[in-house]
């Protein structure tokens, strides 16, 4: 794990050794490995910018998504004053894309946060206590294996479509926690047999303490990786649902709904069609690269980078 620290500072009585060994904590090793993964670092920065632009960009841009533009600016290709062009109804596409991205990002982040919390708790208890919770979890996973999750998404979307983005996000979260729960359960199943857990129990630690102080910190890697990937999956699922008309509803908009609204004019006014799709790709792609880098960084067997 960590390199041993020399007991006395070497320069106290002159240099006894030719080189010193600096100790590195687990966190620093992970950070070092991550920073070596250039694609992941760049992706992280781009993703952060894309999310920031989505969340607050709409307020800074001088057109609103529901502003009607002057007649002479309607239906124009991209220009300096309208970097993504305008629609035939007289809206600024850049403002629309920012608004759509805002909804999509809000939904994706909520889904990742809520489903990770539910999944970690259920997975941890199922893996630690086994028993009925464990078999319930496994049957639930079986159910999702047999019926494609999109079916449930679509049904819930059909039911809660009119209730705003937050309801939609909760629906998606209620169905996406199983994968993270399975990952946490698997890690817990192997970790609970380790000696340090036995040692903690011998010292009189309660189950709660063992779960939250000993086991969970050792599961942080897979949890973070999984939460990251959930953001990409949630963005794609939300856009797909909105594309089918089962997600975000008018008058609001999302990236998927923008593509669905504009696909008929893709041949004549390509700018309406390209930019929402590119925004989705930028977010999903950077999330995937970030997840890849994090997976490598958290993997102690990764030998490509000396940590």
């Amino acid at each position: 794990m960590t390199a041993t620290v020399p007991e006395a500072a070497p320069n106290a009585a002159g240099p006894e050794r030719e080189f010193t060994v600096e100790s590195r904590s687990q966190t620093r090793m992970i950070l070092r490995r991550f920073l070596q993964h250039r694609a992941a670092v760049i992706s992280g920065v781009v993703l952060l910018l894309a999310i920031l632009a989505a969340l607050i960009g709409g307020r800074l841009w001088h057109y609103r998504y529901d502003d009607f533009l002057a007649v002479d600016q309607i239906d124009k290709p991209p220009s300096l004053s309208h970097p993504m062009g305008t629609t035939s109804a007289g809206r600024d596409v850049f403002a629309q894309v920012l608004r759509g991205a805002q909804k999509s990002v809000q939904i994706a982040l909520t889904v990742a946060l809520v489903s990770t919390t539910i999944g970690v708790l259920i997975g941890a208890f199922a893996g630690f206590y086994r028993g009925i919770l464990d078999s319930l979890l496994m049957r639930f996973t079986d159910l999702f294996l047999i019926i494609p999750p999109l079916i449930f998404f679509a049904m819930l979307g059909r039911k809660f479509a009119g209730s705003g983005w937050f309801a939609l996000a909760l629906c998606l979260a209620a169905l996406s926690w199983t994968s993270i729960a399975r990952v946490v359960r698997g890690t817990f199943l192997s970790l609970r047999e380790k000696e340090y857990v036995e040692a903690a129990r011998a010292l009189g630690a309660s189950n709660k303490r063992i779960i939250f102080k000993h086991l969970l910190p050792n599961t942080v890697g897979p949890i973070i990786v999984n939460a990251t990937i959930t953001v990409a999956v949630a963005i794609l699922v939300e856009t797909s649902l909105s594309y089918l008309g089962l997600g975000v509803q008018a008058p609001d908009t999302s990236l998927g709904k923008l593509i669905s609204d504009n696909q008929q004019s893709a041949a004549t006014r390509p700018w309406l069609f390209y930019f929402p799709g590119l925004y989705i790709i930028v977010i999903a792609l950077t999330v995937n690269f970030l997840g890849d880098g994090l997976r490598d960084a958290f993997d102690p067997t990764q030998r490509r980078v000396r940590a």
Partner: protein
């Protein structure tokens, strides 16, 4: 082995049964199948009442479920809300979905194995980075957007170049088509090529990443080092020793994914306007067609169960160390 199969099938049937209850209750709570009829003020009350009786809507949800279960048990899939039988709809949808899925899966599988092995053998080379990027790119691209690009650049440009309609962007075949057998096949091909490409690129992305990872694992193993130490040619080491073992996990993942394919690629079918299983599902959901939805779920559920079981058994066959 036999015990394992029986146990798995029994649990699966039980889960399928639970799923049917869940879906039935969910569909009944979604909305009113007669809303369209009611919306018209000139529909006589007696018509609505008669329709209600015909669809058993005057009964409670559990009662209706039992009626459905009895019919299903005797092999009847029933009619949809307009009185058309469900079975022929399911059959024609399944045919279209198979036409779309089988071709796309074969293209994706070959592409994934080739690209995965190539990137693993040339790890950290420029071509590996390019393939990795492409894999992540297709993993991150919404299929409806990719399909839009294919229509724009594939279909329209090719048709303009040859100055005749070769590649179609809508539907599964031309209606009112007249011509011989080969002309008919050509028409099918023109309609099928874009959905194949769109679907294949999306599944190829995940599979090639998977193939690369397993191939890397195998290439770093001791027996491959031994094979090289024996002086076997690189080609023989790769094909005979490494690839054979690296294919095992991918084959099982593919079996599971193919099971899900029978549910239809909802979005690809919507974009290209194919009346396959995915479209059947979405349309049934829009019209609150509980009979269609349940029949759909039963058929796709059986396919998923069978292919999952096949994946498990295949694992045992391909890798003799694993006893199923």
């Amino acid at each position: 082995m036999l015990g394992f199969i029986i146990r798995r099938l029994l649990t699966s049937v039980f889960v399928l049964f639970l799923a049917s209850i869940l879906v039935f209750v969910a569909v009944s709570s979604l909305g009113d199948p007669l809303a369209e009829l009611r919306a018209n003020p000139r529909t006589p009350k007696s018509t609505i009442e008669a329709k209600k009786r015909e669809l058993n809507l005057d009964k409670s949800v559990p009662q209706r479920y039992v009626i459905w279960l009895k019919d299903f048990g005797t092999g009847k899939l029933g009619n949809d809300n307009r009185g058309r039988p469900v079975y022929p709809q399911l059959k024609s949808a399944m045919e279209l979905t198979l036409r779309m899925a089988i071709g796309a899966t074969i293209i994706a599988a070959f592409l994934a194995v080739f690209v995965g092995v190539y990137s693993a053998v040339r790890q950290y080379s420029i071509s590996d980075y390019i393939f990795t990027f492409l894999g992540f790119l297709f993993l991150s691209t919404p299929v409806f957007w990719l399909a839009g690009l294919l229509k724009l650049y594939g279909a329209i440009k090719i048709n303009n170049f040859f100055n005749r309609q070769l590649v179609y962007t809508q539907g599964d075949s031309s209606p009112n088509f007249t011509g011989g057998f080969w002309a008919r096949m050509g028409d099918y091909a023109g309609h099928t090529i874009l959905p194949w490409i769109a679907l294949a690129l999306i599944s190829f992305a995940a599979w090639s990443r998977y193939q690369r990872a397993t191939m890397l694992d195998v290439l770093n193993s001791d027996y491959v080092r031994l094979a090289r130490a024996k002086g076997l040619s690189n080609r023989r080491v790769l094909t005979r020793h490494a690839l054979r073992n690296a294919l095992i996990p991918l084959v099982t993942v593919m079996a599971i994914d193919i099971g899900a394919v029978f549910a239809g690629a909802v979005i690809t079918e919507t974009v290209f306007n194919w009346a396959g299983m995915g479209r059947l599902f979405i349309d049934a959901l829009r019209g609150y067609e509980s009979n269609v939805l349940l029949a759909w779920m039963m058929v796709t559920g059986v396919f998923v169960i069978v292919f999952n079981l096949a994946a498990d058994l295949l694992y045992g066959v391909l890798d003799p160390r694993i006893r199923v």
